[in-house]
């Protein structure tokens, strides 16, 4: 087990390296214009461009450029030329709101996703199942910004029930913190509830047709026990995988939701930088986000090995 964990973490480092190289290629090599010019932003002066070329070493060889970029990002020296601010510092400030948003939304969507999935699988073909299926497909097809905008228009501008956006520190006032986050939580959770309930439903239906479930029933176990011990247990494993991936991806910034509700987190920072075509922050945020995805991927694999003894520890799972 210990060896598996070590190997998985080593694999993670390798993937992170590949990801950082890809990020470098995306920003500095693939596009056809001068990288310094792009980085300097809209109000670039020739002098600034020359300075950036010098600083980032754009006149040197590609591997050297890559090293310079990594060094800058990890030593916290990246500055946004558009906004004149320290990028790494700004990202750290955004961690509070972004994590509050993601964790809250994750609790919501796991609860409702599992509840709906369970209800529709146990009543497959019935009325409730049909209604929930329609709701789930609608949720999956919903552009995130549409949910956000509808909630925003009807619950804040028209009726003023909830604040329209912004973020209040949890330590400052837990009540206001929650009040400001309710809408973003719901917005973010709706899409995932759709996906999770559908996946769980189909897994449970698969599991219910398995022989071991028939055996369990034949043994005379109560329906409840069959469901919780035999069906649910096996159906939840893929949900855990999915959750790890989705949650990891969100920590890099739930850009659209944060932009709509001006949460001032990492996602909103990304949004503002996008509007200003400000490259250095996007570069740092991309790496930051990819880090969490890779981390959660590894965590999921390790959790898998604990949950499912069939996973051979030698090969990488999934």
């Amino acid at each position: 087990m210990g060896r598996f964990v070590v190997r998985r973490l080593a694999g993670m480092v390798a993937v992170l390296f590949a990801v950082s190289v890809l990020t470098f290629l995306i920003f500095n090599v693939i596009p056809s214009s001068d990288p310094a010019q792009r980085m300097a932003g809209k109000n670039a002066t020739p002098r600034l461009v020359a300075n950036i070329t010098e600083e980032w070493g754009f006149d040197e060889s590609l591997p050297q450029q890559y090293l310079t970029m990594m060094e800058k990002i990890f030593s916290g020296e990246v500055i946004s030329y558009e906004g004149r601010e320290d990028v790494d510092e700004r990202i750290l400030e955004g961690v509070g709101p972004t994590f509050s948003l993601c964790i809250g939304a994750a609790v919501l969507w796991m609860f409702f996703g599992i509840l709906f999935g369970y209800l529709s699988a146990t009543r497959a073909g019935g009325l409730l199942d049909r209604v929930l299926t329609i709701v789930a497909v609608a949720g999956i097809s919903m552009p995130v910004f549409l949910i956000g905008e509808v909630l925003l228009v009807y619950l804040t501008y028209k009726t003023g029930i909830l604040p329209s956006g912004g973020y209040v520190e949890l330590a400052e006032s837990p009540l206001e913190w929650g009040e400001h986050l309710v809408l973003p939580w719901v917005t973010l959770a709706i899409v995932y509830v759709g996906i999770y309930s559908r996946v769980l439903r189909s897994n449970m239906l698969d599991a219910m047709n398995e022989d071991y479930v028939r055996t369990a029933r034949a043994k005379g176990l109560s329906e409840r026990r069959v469901m919780s011990r035999h069906v649910m247990r096996n159906s939840l494993v893929p949900i855990v995988t999915l959750f790890g991936l989705d949650f990891g991806a969100l920590l890099g910034g739930a850009i659209v939701v944060e932009a709509i509700f001006s949460l001032n987190g990492i996602g909103e920072y990304a949004y503002i930088s996008l509007i200003n075509t400000d490259l250095p922050p996007i570069m740092a945020i991309t790496l930051f986000g990819a880090f969490f995805v890779v981390l959660f991927n590894a965590l999921v694999d390790i959790a898998y090995a604990y949950l499912d003894p069939r996973v051979k520890l030698g090969e990488s799972a999934r």
Partner: protein
């Protein structure tokens, strides 16, 4: 209204690109195995490790500002090809993996052996024997791909890194309408609702297709008569 043209065009073109790339990569990796498979699979893993939206946004921003040159071909930052290329590429791993898996099991079947015994080369086995057996998977993934591509396009355009200025799409309309959401919410809500309806119809259509094409699901349909088939797409 004309924005819908762009949205649909990008949705279909990107899904087509994803399908093409994923099918070819999946076939190659699954048929040759060995280190062809290793190289393709690892490359897909790296793309997979990126959050789809972040990868698309990074590419979108970098290319919208810079444009793209592939050999003699030059695309300016505002070309519609750029969002199509981006969206078409980021979803490839999600489709190539299942196809590879299916090819891996198909190539052990007797009909492949029979074809090889007749002296069929790798190309003929891949495209003549294996591909026809993959159609149902490919079609189902293609419809899901259209839905996902349209959603991603809408999101990118909303953020300003998808479809660029002279062109419009439903996504850019939602984005520009969002600035006026307090005074004229309909500017943003109506194109948003159009996206929802279109994607919803594609998804429902895809569900139906899956019921019709997937023999596995038919089997299950007989067990639980008349229930709609679930889908298992990971976004």
């Amino acid at each position: 209204m004309y924005g819908g043209r762009t949205s649909l065009l990008i949705g279909f073109a990107a899904a087509l690109l994803t399908t093409l790339l994923a099918t070819v990569l999946g076939l190659l990796a699954g048929y040759f195995r060995g280190w062809t498979d290793a190289v393709i699979s690892r490359a897909l893993d790296v793309v997979w490790a990126f959050p789809v939206t972040l990868l698309a946004i990074a590419l979108g921003l970098a290319l919208a500002v810079g444009g793209l040159s592939i050999g003699p071909l030059h695309l300016s930052g505002s070309s519609l090809w750029i969002p199509i290329l981006i969206i078409g590429t980021v979803y490839v791993p999600y489709m190539a993996r299942p196809i590879r898996g299916e090819v891996l099991s198909l190539r052990e079947k007797e009909f492949v052996e029979a074809a090889e015994a007749q002296g069929a080369g790798p190309l003929r086995v891949m495209f003549g024997e294996l591909l026809p057996n993959l159609w149902s998977t490919i079609i189902v993934f293609f419809t899901l791909g259209v839905a996902n591509s349209m959603l991603l396009e809408a999101m990118l355009s909303f953020l300003g890194v998808g479809v660029q200025a002279p062109e419009t799409s439903w996504g850019t309309m939602v984005g520009s309408g969002f600035q006026l959401i307090t005074s004229a919410p309909q500017l943003s809500l109506i194109p948003g609702a159009m996206i929802l309806l279109t994607v919803l119809s594609v998804n429902v259509f895809g569900d139906g297709l899956r019921d019709a094409l997937d023999p596995h699901s038919k089997l299950r349909l007989e067990v639980h008569a008349g229930m709609p088939e679930p889908e298992g797409t990971a976004v």
